[in-house]
């Protein structure tokens, strides 16, 4: 079995170097903010770090062995001094942070370290973030926090300033695409999934997912329909859309696909035809690009991103999509 630490080192040399040094010199900070695109291995890294702290027989004094009882328990989520928090539904609630606080006013169960991992820390509600801040401000000894986020700009600046930031570099999407093609994924699919995630396993899974293939074609059809003029063209298409994208996450993915289409258009406009997410649509996109100004394109992208933001704040999904489609089709005059 390959050493997971070495694997991580290959993917994120700088981050792993920082961690290695802080472990070796015994200068572990009390809070880390792990920031990076999906699939860059933030969670794996936080787990590896935690294992290093708890491991009974670390190799070279910092690499977790992965075999001792502590490493195994962390792997299975059974270590009593490691607490992982995931968003409960849409956000991380105050009660979850309260639970952490309860846990951390007490002494550790077994070892000296107490570790907590907050996944998707940007999803904390305002009151949760402020509660967390309270105990980032007064860290007790031997407590280590890992906050994981995809967008560090959505973390409270007061929290940000109390964490050591570890920025995960995005993996080169071209390389990922090549790996995918080697795994016998078709080029159009590989181009798209390599743009959506940085994680090989995830990309592979997505590429082989039938739902995703259908999602791709529905979004493309909808885009074509938008060009086609009248509202009547959109109505049947959007019905397909609603029946296919039901969950919030699915709608979010659809919006991502829309963004990628427009990104491709922008690339084509600037003469950069390499590395498109939809290379098979090059010819048709080239046509479209001729009809668009850069300004208009930027407006459209802004409205898609705005829609994505609103999606997270609990807006009715159908209304949201309708508003977006109208905006995309007719510009601001319509809405």
């Amino acid at each position: 079995m390959s050493n997971p630490w070495k694997e991580a080192e290959k993917r994120q040399p700088i981050v792993m170097r920082i961690i290695e040094n802080s472990l070796l010199r015994d200068r572990v900070a009390h809070a880390y903010l792990l920031e990076g695109d999906p699939g860059t291995g933030k969670k794996e890294t936080a787990m590896l770090f935690a294992k290093s702290l708890f491991c009974l027989e670390p190799e070279d004094e910092f690499m977790p062995c992965g075999a001792c009882i502590n490493c195994r328990r962390i792997e299975h989520g059974n270590h009593p001094d490691l607490h992982a928090i995931e968003p409960d539904g849409l956000s991380i609630k105050k009660e979850q942070i309260y639970y952490l606080q309860q846990e951390f006013i007490k002494t550790a169960v077994e070892s000296v370290w107490k570790v907590y991992i907050v996944n998707q820390a940007d999803k904390m509600t305002a009151s949760a973030a402020n509660s967390l801040l309270k105990f980032l401000e007064e860290p007790s000894a031997n407590t280590v926090a890992f906050l994981l986020t995809e967008q560090s700009s959505r973390i409270l600046p007061t929290i940000l300033s109390r964490c050591q930031q570890l920025t995960f570099k995005p993996i080169d999407s071209d390389r990922l695409k090549q790996r995918l093609v080697e795994e016998e994924i078709s080029i159009p699919m590989a181009s798209l999934t390599s743009k959506l995630t940085n994680h090989l396993e995830e990309a592979l899974e997505q590429s082989r997912d039938e739902w995703f293939a259908l999602a791709r074609s529905i979004v493309l059809k909808l885009y074509e329909g938008l060009k086609g003029g009248g509202l009547s063209a959109i109505v049947p298409l959007s019905e397909d859309f609603y029946s296919h994208f039901k969950e919030k996450q699915q709608v979010s993915l659809a919006l991502d696909l829309f963004v990628l289409i427009h990104r491709d258009l922008l690339s084509i406009m600037t003469g950069e035809e390499h590395g498109l997410a939809f290379p098979d649509r090059l010819a048709s996109f080239q046509q479209d690009a001729l009809l668009l100004s850069a300004e208009k394109l930027a407006d459209r992208m802004a409205s898609i991103l705005e829609a994505k933001r609103r999606l997270n704040s609990n807006m009715n999904q159908q209304l949201l999509m309708e508003q977006l489609l109208l905006k995309l089709q007719g510009g601001h005059a319509f809405v």
Partner: protein
């Protein structure tokens, strides 16, 4: 692991440890009970990571054979199912057998259950007891210590350290202190068996409440071990572990006034009942506030006034009164809690002024002390 055991003893052991098992936990293995078979007997463990309870069932007690161990080992089984299954099994003996994949077969009479288990090694490791730092106190004394202090712990989370009771051992005396910053309960004991060394731990109030439910009202000794992370109480077959609170307990010794301007001795029961009556009307008002004033003729007047409901006054005869005249207001609830915690039929209350904390002690007894902060009224 392979053994057979008497059903009623196992069921009783499960009832003990089940108190520590919480259904809502983020750590999956804590939903289970750990069963460990050694040559001496069976150990059951339940935990919610704050408190852990271990119950030991010896393989034989006196001449009676309770369990037969054929193969040692351990497994973790889901607490809810395990408990229900054991209670409803038909025969009076139960056989257990665990395969290498933690699948456990439970056989009794003609019934056979096969339950998926988890690795016992993954269960939280409880501190090993090292016999050097053990000291012993009678169970009923431990229960009294808890009862007389734990009610005063803070329930608010703003100062988490105050949600615990401070146990401090110095010069062979154990001092238990609890405060929520409006009142303070203190109990000292110099019982035989306390160690010479110094210990200072803060035990969560909730853990102590649980502990006093488990302990019997006998004077059997309880062995106590304080480690860095946990405190352990061991009675005959049950071990109770609790995590400690992290941080330094505030120095409370300076809060307790050492002089007084007014001293009143009262009969505990009469006074408690008078306060209770006065609180009937006070309850509707703010903070349960009642007034107390001392007269020259040695009586004490207790009154409460809620304009929208009515008012109450009552004279209580004091046993002795000395010092300045006094008018003071305080929370009836705090006073009743304090009076209930005090042992002794007579108490003395020492005041240093209407705005200063006052001290309640049993007459001629220094071991218990209750301190209450008065309420400012206009």
């Amino acid at each position: 692991m392979k053994f057979s055991i008497q059903k009623d003893r196992l069921a009783a052991g499960i009832q003990d440890v089940l108190k520590a098992v919480s259904s809502r936990t983020t750590i999956p293995i804590l939903t289970g009970i750990k069963i460990h078979a050694s040559d001496e007997g069976i150990t059951l463990t339940g935990s919610d990571s704050d408190i852990s309870i271990e119950s030991f069932i010896p393989s034989e007690e006196g001449e009676v054979l309770i369990a037969t161990i054929e193969e040692t080992g351990g497994v973790v089984l889901n607490a809810r199912f395990f408990n229900e299954i054991v209670r409803k099994l038909p025969a009076s003996t139960i056989e257990f057998e665990t395969s290498s994949s933690f699948q456990t077969i439970i056989r009794s009479g003609h019934a056979e259950f096969s339950l998926n288990g988890q690795d016992a090694d993954e269960y939280p490791h409880l501190p090993q007891i090292d016999d050097e730092n053990v000291f012993k106190l009678p169970a009923d004394l431990v229960k009294t210590l808890i009862r007389q202090t734990v009610f005063a712990v803070s329930t608010s989370e703003t100062r988490p350290i105050l949600t615990g009771v401070n146990w401090k051992i110095e010069n062979g005396t154990l001092i238990c202190t609890a405060t929520d910053s409006h009142r303070l309960a203190l109990r000292k004991t110099a019982a035989a068996g306390l160690p010479e060394g110094e210990y200072n731990v803060v035990i969560p109030g909730k853990s102590l409440t649980e502990l006093s439910k488990i302990l019997d009202d006998t004077n059997e000794p309880v062995e106590i071990v304080m480690t860095e992370n946990q405190v352990l109480f061991r009675s005959k077959y049950v071990l109770f572990f609790s995590r400690l609170l992290d941080g330094n307990y505030p120095d409370t010794s300076r809060l307790i006034p050492d002089e007084h301007k007014t001293k009143i001795d009262l009969n505990t029961k009469e006074y408690l009942q008078a306060v209770d009556r006065a609180s009937l009307l006070a309850r509707e008002g703010r903070n349960n506030v009642i007034k107390m004033s001392s007269g020259d003729d040695g009586t004490v007047e207790i009154s409460s006034n809620s304009p929208e409901i009515g008012k109450v006054t009552e004279q209580v005869n004091s046993l002795a009164a000395e010092g300045d005249e006094l008018k003071i207001s305080f929370s009836a609830k705090y006073m009743m809690d304090a009076l209930k915690a005090i042992e002794g039929t007579e108490i003395e209350i020492q005041f240093t002024g209407a705005m200063r904390p006052f001290v309640i002690r049993p007459l001629h007894d220094d071991s218990t002390l209750q301190l209450i902060l008065p309420v400012r009224t206009y």
